[in-house]
Symmetry: C2
Subunit: 455 residues, 2 copies
């Protein structure tokens, strides 16, 4: 190992990064990796062999970005316009994008957490470098093992179940595709109308929703639960995310069922058990998956708002989900609760949360909200479509959920480029921001404090 | 002075409050005062003599609430359905609601600021009590003097200007009504279509927009500028609010002009100077006044979003404006900027802002956003109207702006009651919250700190 940039301690780091960018911080390496993956994907998808007829460079670019960012928004229907080769490219991009991101995020969290919890405000980059290659390898293998295990089990069950209706190989192929799609929270489907035909099928819905939840809850939660298996010794973070996930999923389920059960275009015509499954799927998928068993463009405005809130919140950190994250949301709610009830500390499960964490959550919220606002504003100028459809599509892109009210396939090229940017920033932004915030330093210039009136 | 509740130090406080509520905290006294004022106003407006024909108890309740909270949303047209007596009741409610709130808020700020800046975490209630009656009287007189001076000057100019087109007494009456309405940021108008007929009239637009800005910028800013008259010695808070107000007004002006100049239903058909005046008025009025010189229901979705953002932000603290407040917005932006650029301190004009202030701003933001979200959600269930109209009306009510896309007069009674609640909470909530947050205590129970992943 040549330590050719000793002043920055970059030595071992060169063994980790692959892009050749010098002095790049980990988020930049991740972004560069994503760009490379997207470009390779674009070229592959643009090949004549990928489409039933050539889909064109722009559509290929859009689909590759959507796949790598595990979003699922689509300007073409992958079931119709992509050949099996194209479909395999697409789902491979999803797998690589999802796995790569989670592996990277977990390593970053380990290295940062380890260093910074010791109170050392050292450059996080150094922390990143000093993590041993073996540790990185172990983590990556662990992520890979969990992912592939869940996906294989889901694919197995779905293949057996779908074999009733499809030839064996078709069932296996589609089951594998959807298992990967669901665990990575990328809402691409090989069936017409996403998974609408399974709206009342308990096996399909429960397998897919379980995959979605496991993929979206976060690696550290899975790993903590897997190691301890009982509630009491779990990390506070794990408890909070488990509780938050259950509350959000059940709350969304109840809200959507209550608001839609009389809507003939969504749940109204379904038998009760299918209504329950559809409301459950819609609640779970809103958190970032994008598979839909009902037509979201027919949702009432009230359920649309609930869905947008769930998309905005998203899943757990270090997962295939995006959005501001469940943890961020809970921290914000807990912070407000604490202030309203005259406590200075933000407390969750009898553990206090540092003001720094609250400030990070605030930054994530505001940056994400600003992104949604700006994206919506620009898209209202570019497109002549109802505001609710535009806002929905933007929240879906920023949170990399991938649900659509039908606007995406009709977007002009500038708007497609905007959505591409939103998906990319939506996927990488929160981690980059969290990483950046974890490495902040106290400025050497101190200013006197001033009184400031708010409210 | 009988100190008949010595344990709580309530003695001198009994001289200040009028409602007879024992042990009530200042925000509760304020809320009770508002309720009493609204009820009296409701009864007066429901009198047959108040309407050209009786307007009914529900409409009277709505209009009284809208007036006392200085909102301006209207289920009846005050120019058409109210008699001169009813109009005078309405504008008196505006004046009392606006003045009363500002006086109260200023006194609360003085007493809290004085006590808490000394680091004493005493019950704020005591601070409130110990403020001398003479101090309260001086402050109230000062607020009254500034308000009446601005209103009288504006009324004078408008009366002279409008005398060209109206009989003298009509001109004086309408000028006084609109001067009070503008300074108190209550968007009631005696002309058809609000102030649309003055869209290109520089005198009317500039006088009204000046009143709106002065009324909405906050008493402490006016008082600081009035005392010091130069930039350098101004309080940091004053500088920030002045800069923020200019940036928001000019930014809104430019955005609305750019987005609407080709819209034939708003600015498109106007000569350039009228376009400029209309865009300026729309930007200023969005910050909380509610007078409109163009038809806001014809705004493009992009300008509607900009308008909603401006309404949500609102004006300065301790003013006739509501919303989260300019100061809160700037603190939030500055906080995010600081985090993104790796500073721990939030700095404005070379003064740092305490983490407590940032947390208060966060609480105000989230509570207001939750109020808007919940209000919009409930209204989408209650009303069959486009989501954009509903969201606009809810933001307008919560921020007590009073602009409408035409939905309010069509609302069912439950929806009207909801809007009444939103106006009331929108007007009193932020101050109550800020007050409550200023008096928080550190809990005696301490919990160990936990690591928590966000983003
Ligand atoms: K997705
Ligand atoms: K108003």
């Amino acid at each position: 190992m040549r330590n050719w940039l000793p002043a920055y301690g970059y030595g071992s780091y060169t063994r980790f990064r692959r892009t050749g960018l010098l002095r790049a911080s980990p988020p930049i390496v991740l972004a560069a990796g994503f760009v490379v993956l997207i470009l390779i994907g674009t070229l592959l998808l643009a090949l004549p062999v990928s489409g039933t007829r050539p889909i064109g460079l722009m559509a290929a670019f859009f689909m590759a970005t959507s796949a790598v960012t595990v979003t699922g928004l689509a300007v073409i229907d992958p079931a119709v316009s992509l050949s099996p080769f194209g479909q395999i490219v697409l789902i491979s991009l999803v797998q690589l994008g999802g796995l790569g991101f989670v592996t990277f995020a977990v390593i970053a969290a380990i290295t940062l957490g380890k260093k910074l919890s010791l109170g050392q405000q050292a450059l996080a980059l150094e922390a990143f470098n000093q993590t041993s290659v073996s540790r990185i390898r172990r983590t990556a293998i662990s992520v890979l093992r969990i992912s592939l295990t869940v996906e294989a089990l889901a694919a197995l069950v779905l293949a057996l179940w779908w074999w009733r209706d499809y030839p064996f190989l078709t069932a296996v192929y589609r089951a594998t595709f959807h298992a990967i799609g669901a665990f990575n929270n990328a809402g691409f489907s090989l069936f017409p109308g996403s998974i609408a035909q399974f709206v009342g099928d308990p096996v399909t819905i429960l397998v897919l929703s379980t995959c979605i939840i496991l993929g979206g809850i976060g690696f550290s939660v899975l790993s903590d639960v897997g190691q301890k298996k009982r509630w009491a010794p779990l990390l506070t973070y794990t408890k909070v995310i488990l509780a938050g996930t259950i509350i959000l999923n059940l709350g969304g389920f109840a809200a959507i069922w209550a608001l839609e059960y009389r809507n003939p275009d969504t749940l109204g015509e379904l038998p009760v058990h299918a209504q329950a499954l559809a409301a459950w799927m819609q609640s779970v998928t809103s958190r970032t998956a994008g598979y839909v068993s009902i037509d979201v463009s027919e949702l009432r405005d009230s359920s649309t708002l609930v869905t947008m809130l769930l998309m905005f919140i998203g899943g757990g950190s270090l997962s295939t989900a995006s959005g501001i994250k469940v943890g961020t949301f809970i921290i914000l709610v807990a912070a407000v609760y604490s202030y309203l009830f005259h406590r200075k500390e933000v407390v969750l499960f009898k553990r206090s949360v540092s003001p720094d964490t609250v400030q990070k959550a605030l930054a994530l919220l505001l940056v994400t909200a600003a992104l949604v606002f700006a994206g919506t504003l620009i898209l209202t100028v570019l497109e002549d479509a109802p505001l609710v459809d535009i806002a929905f599509e933007v929240v879906s892109a920023v949170s990399t959920t991938g649900m659509s009210r039908g606007l995406t396939p009709q977007l002009s090229t500038p708007s497609q480029l905007l959505v591409i940017v939103l998906m990319f920033v939506g996927r990488l932004g929160p981690l980059t921001l969290a990483y950046s915030l974890a490495t902040q330093k106290r400025s050497r210039v101190r200013y006197p404090e001033t009184e400031f009136q708010v409210g």
